[in-house]
Symmetry: C2
Subunit: 407 residues, 2 copies
């Protein structure tokens, strides 16, 4: 049994809907297929827009009812397109499948999935076309799953029906060692571990939402990232690290060019001040990424430096100005053009020289490292956005990521 | 308890959605309100278009799933707009209400309506915003009710919850004695009987679908036709003929300018030939309106004359050409520009001179009557389309329809 998920760009037009129908029909000749489909192109954005025109703060239950129509439209059209190809197909909404969620609107979590209706249709030879992104409360109110919702639906359905694989169709061939638009020698990864994928997705390689990757790791679902517009390509397979054939210390390099840096200076060194600073940011709904707290020369104060999305910079600066005098800090520095360069690899923790090699190479090339943060399988540096492309190419070359054999 | 139905033009834009929300919120200050809402403006036409682009003959189950999203969008927005006005409101789809229909797609009839969910919300002070035009089979598949579906939903819900009245909001003040665009002295009818309304709707005054009128008559629902854009106006009330205060032989005059006339000549007078003629038309899905069969001078043959929608004329002529030689007829005549003039009145059958007065007046004005057909409460004549406006004004004056007192 196979689950195939198609995102919004894959079903953006009627022509593309016919394309995904033909991909599913071909697969269904081999094994039973459950499709999970997102709303067409910008439909969700359009529905959000008319909701905001109707109400300054749209009722969340009604917003979910509204947004869910986006997938209902696309699944009905995909089922029609499959019929047109001579395949048997049936569309099912989240509520019709029996995807039960919490009674939390616009960001519900899945509580239970009934499989009898899906399995019944599969047994009768139907391709099931399931709506992504949505479910229903046990009272029958429509809910949506929030960010990464359709990816999550696909992996959750794959787990529920015990599918052999879950194919996530996007508009690229799979996961690359770096962005091919920046690094011409970037190589497609045949395999990647769930953990590496999590770090890749978080730092900018937006092919599969981290929430879905977590779920795939938990249920051990074989997820394949594939290209809707090049369906013959085998793509990238997500596996547990222990199952991977090839084990490289550095799997890929990513760049996130949507960062800005802020520092609040000479923050008195007493308990609770960091909470004041980041509390003020949270109140204004600013997400913070890298954080560094460094002792100032003068021992009784600290400088706190962090990065945010570039669009949040002005809001974040206002938040800092609010707390500055209250906590007795002295000065705020803002740096609008920052990029975050990261290397990701399941083997990073075993090879402590990797970080040093990267920092040395960047320094020799005159690229200034403004901040560093690390996880078990990732090393990130904040650099000037103007250095971004050059730095990615440099690091890609440094670790020979273009070379299949070298590791 | 009050049911208010708002059609597609009443919710065409966000501004109009806010308008209907304010109408409902005002009414809800007096009594519990159930709104029934159609899809916004041309949404249904747009969804039909993309369905046809996807499949030459869209699967009817999927077409229903697709079309039903139109009302789901409008009810969610109306509920949001009510919230914005400070009213409590909840949107419910046909399936969520528990409107069970036959398992027939695109033209299902309502089998059962559950009222517990609606009544529960009303008791808790909510305005219920119900989706028109749709229901669900007992297996939970979405169905639509076909033509006049939202009107039918409104009247059926009014019957189910035992509402005191069902207000049908349109873009006119109510039902007039004639089209005010043609007859400047046309007068708004305060009351009209179900039977007269049926004849009015069928012959061209498109404010309320005959299917809904039949249902209102059956359940004796007090239906009011009102103006969304002039909600202070009290509109026209539909009642049983026995309840009407004023009883006029002629209630109104209507004109249907979308007619064409065909005749097939010298049809041999033997059993089955009429069946051959109209069977050929039905096969090509041509609806026939007025029919006359007249003996030709030569006693063994008949001329069969009938009217069709103007757009069906060429198809109808082809159908006649197909049967002409087969049944031994000789000649086909087509007349593209025909209008059907009708007078409607519950008292027509009691006053046989009415028809004679109408025919005489038309004759004196040089307006040629090409065909005549009658029912218990309607007399229709086919005339030249060029005479249409003059004829309506003439008949409106003849029966003093502008005068409230004259009857």
């Amino acid at each position: 049994m196979l689950v195939q998920k198609f995102g919004g760009t894959s079903v953006k037009s009627i022509a593309r809907i016919k394309n995904v129908a033909s991909i599913a029909a071909r697969a269904a000749a081999e094994e039973p297929v459950v499709m999970v489909v997102s709303a067409m192109g910008d439909t969700t954005d359009y529905l959000m827009k008319i909701a905001r025109q109707t109400s300054l703060q749209p009722n969340r239950r009604e917003l979910d009812a509204l947004l869910a129509t986006g997938e209902q439209i696309s699944i009905a059209l995909v089922a029609m397109a499959l019929n047109e190809l001579g395949a048997r197909a049936i569309s099912l909404t989240g509520a019709q499948i029996g995807i039960t969620t919490e009674s939390v609107h616009t960001a519900a979590r899945i509580v239970d999935i009934k499989t009898d209706r899906i399995l019944g249709y599969l047994k009768d030879g139907f391709i099931v076309v399931a709506a992504g992104f949505q479910g229903a409360t046990k009272d029958g109110d429509v809910t949506t799953l929030g960010r990464g919702g359709s990816d999550t639906t696909a992996v959750a359905l794959a787990a529920a029906v015990e599918a052999d694989a879950c194919d996530i169709y996007t508009d690229v061939n799979g996961v690359y060692t770096a962005d091919p638009n920046i690094v011409s020698t970037a190589r497609l990864l045949k395999e990647i571990s769930y953990e590496e994928m999590l770090e890749m997705a978080r730092v900018g390689a937006q092919v599969l939402h981290p929430r879905a990757v977590e779920l795939a790791r938990k249920h051990h679902i074989k997820v394949r990232v594939r290209n809707t517009f090049n369906p013959e390509h085998e793509g990238t397979i997500l596996l547990g690290a222990e199952e991977m054939e090839i084990y490289r210390p550095v799997g890929g390099v990513t760049i996130d060019r949507d960062q800005a840096r802020l520092a609040i200076l000479k923050v008195p060194d007493r308990p609770g001040v960091a909470g004041d600073v980041f509390g003020a940011l949270a109140e204004r709904r600013v997400s913070v990424d890298m954080i560094i707290q460094a002792f100032h020369q003068d021992g009784s104060v600290n400088d706190i430096t962090f990065t945010v999305r570039r669009g949040d910079l002005d809001t974040a600066r206002l938040a800092l100005e609010d707390v500055e005098s209250r906590i007795g800090a002295q000065g705020i520095i803002a740096d609008r053009d920052v990029a975050k360069l990261s290397i990701v690899g399941a083997g990073l923790m075993d090879q402590p020289d990797i970080a040093a090699r990267m920092f040395t190479a960047l320094g020799r090339a005159g690229i200034n490292i403004k901040m560093i943060s690390t996880s078990d399988i990732r090393i990130s540096c904040a650099i000037s956005d103007g250095d971004a492309e050059r730095a990615v190419k440099l690091v890609h070359d440094l670790f020979h990521l273009d070379d299949e054999q070298e590791f």
